[in-house]
């Protein structure tokens, strides 16, 4: 540290030795230099390593969720069983489809007679499989009276066993799949009637308590609606504010106050916006809880500062000569801005708002406050229906005790990250494609 100073002091006393002193300390100084550089590189490498570990851990846990163990059963769509009174669609919708599965399992394993064994046998197929059969029958009534081989999702424990998350060698008492079920699985897999297939349900189903029936479609729709609403509200307001603050606002106390407010709001923790939504929008204005409407209001207020700050920066980067030329040609101030400045600043504004939207897409805490954590099975279709969003769905699944939800949570995270990365990629593309330097 003090090499420079000491060498200079000594140099004053004895001029001939300065060179020697510098020479002597040089090796030490150079190694200090190398050490310092190595610290810096270590810092970056640590950061990148964390990123890598995060991605590897998520992908490693989640990629198996894109396949699902399915069991092939010969289902006899017994018209007498499903619709004994010939009531048509109504009674077909209410019929006992799980009974069909049980019958089919009993036929496949006729040796199982005891009550408890039968229960274990039936438990191998997902308890939600009946709904799938119902949908099949309602879509195609010609199935009635026929025997058709159908692939049905296996129970999540069987799925975990097939994916190797349950140890076969463990003592039966500590294992969620018992010895008899293991034997049945083995006999099924010899006949190639138990296989891992692409998990389409994960993308087309809503939430469910059964991991094998749970999907992200409801959460995706909720996220989409919330995001579209947020964009429609925050982009025009953000652009208008940025234009006013940058182009029109006189320098006075009032505009200073607005500016201070915007800058502070940008750094307010997101959960505080949730409190605002709860106290103002739900309690005071009485808007419906858990709905995308209120979600997009809260997220709009949260993302506005980001959009405004980005918008102002990109307006600032438009050179004044363009404004002056337009004004000189007789354009009014508003014409100058709408015809010349805004089109030039638009790519930067879009980039800023896409980044703001990406943040809104990943936001969870304020949405917990306004009740978007409800367990919702149906896929929402309107802005005033209760719904949830993808990050909140991840939070809910992460809380679930079933082992199978761990991989589904990771898979949902992969989907979320995919959207975030594509949005950020779009922002980078826009910046590269349209960025201009004057």
């Amino acid at each position: 540290m003090n090499n420079l100073a000491t060498s200079a002091d000594l140099g004053a006393d004895n001029k001939s030795s300065t060179f020697d002193i510098v020479q002597k300390s040089l090796a030490k100084r150079r190694s200090a230099e190398r050490r310092f550089k190595a610290y810096g590189l270590t810092g970056i490498m640590l950061g990148l390593m964390f990123l890598l570990v995060l991605f590897i851990s998520i992908i490693g846990k989640g990629y198996t969720a894109f396949v699902q163990t399915q069991v092939q059963l010969d289902i006899y769509f017994d018209a007498e069983w499903l619709d004994p009174e010939h009531g048509g669609d109504d009674s077909l919708a209410k019929a006992d489809y799980n009974g069909l599965i049980k019958k089919s399992l009993s036929t496949a394993f006729p040796e199982v007679m005891e009550r408890r064994d039968k229960r274990d046998l039936y438990a191998m197929v997902s308890s939600g499989a009946g709904f799938l059969l119902r949908e099949m029958v309602i879509a195609d009534k010609s199935l009635l009276g026929k025997t058709v081989p159908v692939w049905l999702p296996a129970d999540d424990d069987i799925d975990m066993l097939m994916k190797g998350h349950i140890d076969r060698e463990q003592v039966q008492a500590n294992r969620r799949v018992n010895d008899k079920q293991l034997a049945w699985i083995d006999s099924l897999s010899q006949e190639a009637r138990i296989e891992k297939h692409f998990n389409a349900l994960f993308f087309i189903a809503g939430d469910s308590r059964e991991p094998e029936m749970a999907g992200i479609r409801g959460a995706l729709m909720g996220s989409l609606m919330t995001l579209v609403g947020t964009f429609l509200l925050s982009f025009p307001i953000g652009v208008a504010t940025a234009v006013y603050m940058e182009e029109f606002a006189p320098i006075n106390k009032f505009t200073d106050f607005i500016e201070v407010n915007i800058n502070n709001l940008a750094a307010v923790p997101s959960i505080v916006f949730g409190l605002l939504g709860l106290a103002m929008f739900i309690n005071f204005f009485g808007l419906p809880r858990s709905t995308p409407v209120i979600g997009c209001l809260v997220l709009t207020l949260m993302t506005l500062p980001t959009i405004i700050i980005a918008g102002r920066a990109s307006l600032k980067s438009v050179p004044p000569s363009i404004r002056e030329a337009a004004l000189g040609m007789g354009a009014s101030k508003l014409q100058t801005i709408t015809h010349h400045v805004l089109p030039l600043a638009m790519p930067g504004m879009m980039t800023g708002s896409i980044i703001g939207m990406a943040r809104a897409l990943g936001e969870t805490a304020p949405l917990l406050m306004i009740g978007m954590v409800a367990f919702i099975v149906d896929v929402p279709t309107s802005f005033t229906q209760p719904s949830t969003v993808l990050p909140v769905q991840i939070y809910l699944w992460a809380d679930s005790p079933e082992r199978a939800f761990v991989e589904r949570t990771s898979a949902a995270i992969m989907v979320l990250l995919f959207f975030l990365i594509s949005m950020n990629g779009l922002a980078v593309y826009l910046r590269r494609r349209y960025e201009r330097r004057w």
Partner: protein
């Protein structure tokens, strides 16, 4: 007739108004557009704005006032003995009526009085909607006609339109003020209610936190203690751990990126590092709870330490990773803002690059770096999801990073998620915590911005 259809009608009318205005302007100068004061489009916009804005305002006020008015009318029609019910019971009845109207309860399960009232409600509602459509369309057409009449050759339509647009922009920019006012007033109001039942001093300096208030006086284990010190220490502990991770790594990365790295390395490493800031916090929370926490627990146990499965260390470490890019990119900006002449001067005196950084650049950039660290601290204090998922719920007053602690944000979430009534100190406590959080982060931000701004002036 739903309000969204009315909106579409109004938009069509606005479009019609545009053409009406434009045609009228062209007609009143017999096609000689050049002698008009403004371009014909401005006359169109002028009429269009007139035909839509007053009607929209009326619709808005109508829709806000409508439920109260209908409820009042329906209440007046209820049987005598129901009107004389205490207000809470009457509200329950009215809720039933609304549920029937919205179709959320089956009509067959409710008694006839409520069904009648619901029918009344529905008829009033549809009457009101039809009336609204009538009034709004009438107003729109009337305004369109009047504004069309005002158009003549010298009418300054452009000035009028630009005034309206500027007014709209001013309204948009005041939303930031309203948001702040909304946050402060809602949080402060609920906190005020809270401090009526729990003294401020007990809240800020109490050592015990157990927000379950007793429903009955003989209930055990629900003392209803609202001392927030354990939450504050928990928040500080986790933030401190996070800063221990983020500050050295972030700062060293920033120094390397801005001083040593070549342009290609910088161009790829900086955005990659910034991905860390773009990952949703819920993902970090999952990572902390399922990967880092078990790892720390196993490592700790293999060394003979007792580590809680929801340790402050796991949450803090992961939060630190999340904050690295904040520290690094803000410090990077600050370091880049140090003028090149200072570096050149140091090099000319024979200093190595590391010496220049340590003795010249770092001191020059220090205020900015402190500012960026303060911003990162405020970020850490307000962080929620990582802690909700990876830190515990038990309010331990401890500085041991291996134990579970709870934080302000975690308590806000746990107190407010789920159904709640707004009269218990338990839910109101969340708003008091929110107030503390808001004030603390605001102060940190103001301080940080002040430091950064003051520093920047030195070289400009």
């Amino acid at each position: 007739m739903s309000p969204s259809i009315l909106l579409i009608i109004l938009l069509i009318l606005a479009y019609a108004g545009f053409y009406a205005g434009k045609r009228r302007a062209v007609a009143c100068v017999e096609g000689k557009v050049k002698i008009l004061h403004s371009l014909p489009g401005f006359y169109g916009f002028y009429v269009s704005l007139w035909s839509v804005i007053p009607a929209l305002l009326v619709t808005l006020i109508w829709l806000i006032a409508e439920p109260a008015w209908i409820t009042h009318a329906v209440t007046a029609q209820l049987p005598e003995e129901m009107i004389n019910l205490p207000p809470e019971r009457l509200n329950l009845v009215l809720n039933d009526v609304r549920n029937v109207v919205n179709g959320s309860t089956l009509a067959t399960q409710t008694d006839s009085v409520i069904l009648d009232a619901a029918g009344h409600y529905q008829s009033l509602q549809s009457l009101s909607h039809w009336l609204l459509v009538f009034v709004a369309m009438g107003l729109s057409l009337a305004c369109m006609w009047i504004s069309c009449q005002r158009i003549h050759q010298h009418y300054r339509a452009r000035n009028a339109v630009e005034k309206a647009v500027t007014g709209g922009m001013v309204i948009c920019s005041t939303i930031a003020i309203f948001t702040t006012v909304g946050i402060v007033s809602s949080v402060a109001y609920e906190s005020f209610l809270f401090f009526q039942s729990v003294p401020v001093f007990d809240f800020l300096f109490g050592l015990e936190w157990s927000p379950q208030t007793a429903m009955r006086s003989d209930q055990v284990g629900s003392s209803g203690a609202f001392g927030a010190i354990p939450l504050f220490t928990g928040t500080l502990l986790v933030s401190f751990i996070a800063m221990l991770v983020a500050v050295p790594i972030g700062l060293m990365s920033a120094i390397y990126l801005s001083e040593f790295a070549g342009p290609t390395f910088r161009a790829s490493a900086k955005p990659t590092l910034e991905i860390l800031a773009g990952i949703p916090t819920v993902v970090y929370g999952f990572f902390a709870a399922l990967t880092v926490a078990p790892f720390i627990r196993e490592t700790g146990e293999s060394m003979g330490l007792s580590v809680s499965s929801e340790s402050a260390l796991a949450a803090g470490l992961v939060m630190g990773v999340m904050i690295i890019p904040f520290v690094s990119s803000l410090s990077d900006d600050v370091i880049n803002a140090v003028p090149q002449s200072l570096r050149d001067g140091a090099y000319a005196l024979g200093a190595t690059q590391a010496e220049t950084i340590k003795q010249i650049i770092f001191p020059a950039a220090l205020p900015g770096i402190v500012g960026s660290i303060l911003l990162a601290v405020s970020r850490a204090i307000g962080e929620t999801m990582i802690l909700v998922m990876a830190a515990g719920l038990s309010a331990n007053l401890t500085f041991n990073p291996f134990e579970a602690v709870t934080t302000v944000t975690v308590q806000i979430v746990t107190l407010l998620v789920g159904d709640q009534e707004f009269d218990s100190p338990k839910t109101l406590a969340a708003f008091a915590l929110g107030l503390v959080l808001f004030v603390v982060t605001l102060m940190l931000n103001v301080l940080a911005l002040y430091i950064v701004r003051k520093y920047r002036e030195q070289y400009e």
